[in-house]
Symmetry: C2
Subunit: 448 residues, 2 copies
């Protein structure tokens, strides 16, 4: 019965969210939404040299059209096309935010739609942030209802549930009324798509672009009066019934915003190594580590990670991203793990890192959460230090902001601070002003 | 083992089809492909006054862009946008061709992609027909592999399997090599979508437009070098694994073309009534019917149709389309069932039709195929006539052409003959020339 009630309510929950007055949104959630925008924009700007970036920009340029929205790189295009390109480009580095309950990346599927629509209508950034927040919250609710079975079957929540979030965000900025938003979500149910079989190919970042483009398209078609299913989500033969074997239902949680569990990637390597890195950084914060004094390091993680990120002797920069021992050696040596540009092939052949890596042992313990890691260091003077970290632990928001800003600096240098300043200046800013900052500045990537 | 082999082969079958030389295509299949184009174009032109038509044209016009392809109505747009609009518009009347094994409509999802790509590259119509034929054949193979379970779960094969066909058709015209076509199909696996929950709304014709637009988009992105899954169809977590509970496998049938089983809708009413109409037309061909002489008519159909199209006293023109007794009375009175414009509310209130309808009895027999009907007529002079018809029966191709041309004339008048002449003139025709005939001519619909 509970599940049935939930099913009936989900579409109404989304319609309620979409119309929620700006003033009622929690200020901490709004701060996180702004931070997600910053992180999203930085990830897109840092992807200037990715092959998929140029391909998407060329695709959009070839089509042309009424230039109402900006693309990364400074071009202009119709909002739908800009959303497609920007979603793809911002996910190219796979370094954007994550939401575990939703099972996916929120910013890359939803912000490109919110930002393009916001620029098109000449909105304020705070309206873009609010639209994103409500879209993200909607995507999380849809993701929860689809359940882990959806992901396990082979669907990519970032793209599928994300499209509903993009539709809510774009539809809100386009001023859809409740009936139009219902139609937009109905259209999204027949338009949303995205498979995990794209992982390891350019189709993976494209999935984020697809979500964003679908959001704009469905919102615009509904604004023009297209009719659709009354409940495209939980209704008969709706998106959940067709795309999930075991719709789990979800708790009735109008508040607080589930979005607040958003997590930012702070290390440009495999997610399975992040808890270890954080634990080692805690040790370093307790006692500045001199790598030469370290006798041995023991890392304990959940066994599921062993066939993912335990490469003992990486041969390339890419393989370093999947190597506990190498990454531990980097942290012990004070080498930042934040910048994607640091993972060079030369790093895999660094003799001193190799020496340190040989002192690191990886152990497993099924009782350690798969979001956690324990580290134990023994020093030459006989002292020992142990630490642990769980990625589910929440930092204070000031610290989160500080760390995301630091991550941005490792990728964009001084420009990161300029953008952060624009986004946080007193009185707020306009979407059209911020859009001007999407240009690529040659040489930034190389100078780091 | 057979299914496994089939799974591995399907992607190769499609890649082989996509590259098949034009000269090797069966001439009868090509004739049917040309006829499908004609029928598709007529359905689109006859939909000028449908509300969804103007909405899609406005959507495309608002986006604008490089005008490389034509839309119904005479506008021009990027190929992807033209495919979206034309697919939707041509399916608005739901009067286009059907393929039962594929479980869907082929022309409306595939021709808009083939035609837009053909116009864009300046191709000949015979190349467009060939690309459609090979795309349609691909869509049928994918539809068969997805099986009836896909449709029953709530997916709309016209849109889902159709997108793969549109990708093959567009990709062939864009000159993709085998690796690029493989990538295009991989991208299609993450892009294709479409649910039956749109039936009864404007989302239903939109599904055809989505298939066509996806075909152009995936082909263009692959041409630009986007990488994707090696086997997006039958591969791990590919389209079949994620979108079908019971992939049935399908017989290994390289020849003849399954496409040849295509069927054209010749009556603008519920499909469940067509076999009855055909059987009555056979009686009429045997002996010209004077309605006044008819004493009684017995129609025998499969019981599944009773709750679909057995309205005893229709109140509107729309309800007439779902009324065995009224439609039988129309045929007995010599009123054409071909033109969508004939189904007026006045027809539902016609006294003489009502008198005839009262002589018609609808019986059921589970041994009658759901594609068939039997009719038995008793006359005042004591004579009796019986006939039956199964929609699966194949007419000679000359007769099929003649009947589709007749259908077109009931919708477009003289213009139908002009278009048919263009398509069949000696020496063939160019896609760009035919595209000029997509303009709407005001008043044609009203004059009939």
């Amino acid at each position: 019965m509970k599940e049935r009630r939930y099913d009936v309510d989900l579409i109404d929950t989304l319609l309620d969210l979409a119309q929620r007055p700006h003033e009622t949104l929690p200020s901490e959630s709004m701060r996180l939404a702004r931070l997600s925008f910053f992180d999203w924009m930085v990830c897109g700007l840092a992807a200037a040299d990715e092959p998929v970036t140029q391909k998407l920009l060329r695709f959009v340029e070839e089509e042309g059209g009424r230039a109402t929205a900006s693309t990364f790189g400074g071009g202009r295009a119709p909002a739908r096309a800009a959303a497609l390109a920007n979603g793809t480009i911002s996910h190219a580095l796979d370094y954007d935010d994550t939401h575990f309950a939703h099972i996916g990346h929120l910013s890359v599927g939803i912000y490109p739609a919110a930002f393009a629509a916001g620029e098109e209508v000449g909105g304020r950034m705070k309206e873009v942030h609010a639209a994103f927040l409500l879209g993200a919250e909607s995507a999380i609710r849809v993701g929860l209802a689809l359940g882990p079975g959806h992901y396990e079957r082979g669907f990519h929540q970032t793209a599928t549930a994300g499209a509903f979030g993009a539709t809510v965000a774009a539809g809100r900025l386009y001023g859809l009324n409740r009936d139009q938003m219902r139609a937009a979500l109905g259209l999204c149910s027949t338009r949303a798509s995205g498979l995990k079989n794209q992982f390891g190919t350019m189709g993976k970042p494209l999935n984020a672009g697809i979500a964003a483009a679908n959001g704009i398209e469905c919102a615009r078609l509904a604004a023009l009066g297209l009719t659709s299913a009354d409940d495209g989500i939980s209704g008969a033969q709706g998106f959940i019934a067709t795309h999930s074997d075991a719709a789990t239902g979800a708790p009735d949680l109008p508040n607080p915003f589930l979005f607040d569990d958003i997590r930012y990637k702070l290390h440009a390597c495999c997610h399975g190594t992040h808890a270890m890195i954080e634990a080692l950084l805690k040790v370093q914060a307790d006692r500045s580590i001199d790598a030469a004094e370290v006798q041995s390091v023991t890392i304990t993680v959940h066994p599921k990670w062993l066939n993912v990120c335990d490469i003992k002797q990486p041969r390339t920069g890419l393989e370093v991203k999947f190597s506990y021992v190498w990454l531990a050696a980097m942290v012990l040596s004070g080498i930042s793990t934040s910048s994607p540009m640091r993972y060079t092939d030369a790093l895999a052949n660094d003799i001193s890192l190799k020496g340190l890596a040989q002192k690191v042992r990886v152990a497993t313990d099924p009782s350690v959460a798969d979001t956690a890691a324990k580290v134990a260091l023994a020093y030459a003077d006989g002292t020992e230090f142990a630490q642990e970290h769980d990625l589910m632990a929440q930092f204070p928001i000031d610290e989160i902001e500080g760390r995301v800003i630091h991550k941005a600096q490792t990728m964009l240098g001084e420009r990161a601070g300029t953008i952060w300043g624009q986004l946080t200046r007193a009185g707020g800013s306009d979407a059209r002003d911020i859009a001007k900052s999407l240009v690529f500045i040659d040489g930034v990537a190389e100078s780091l």
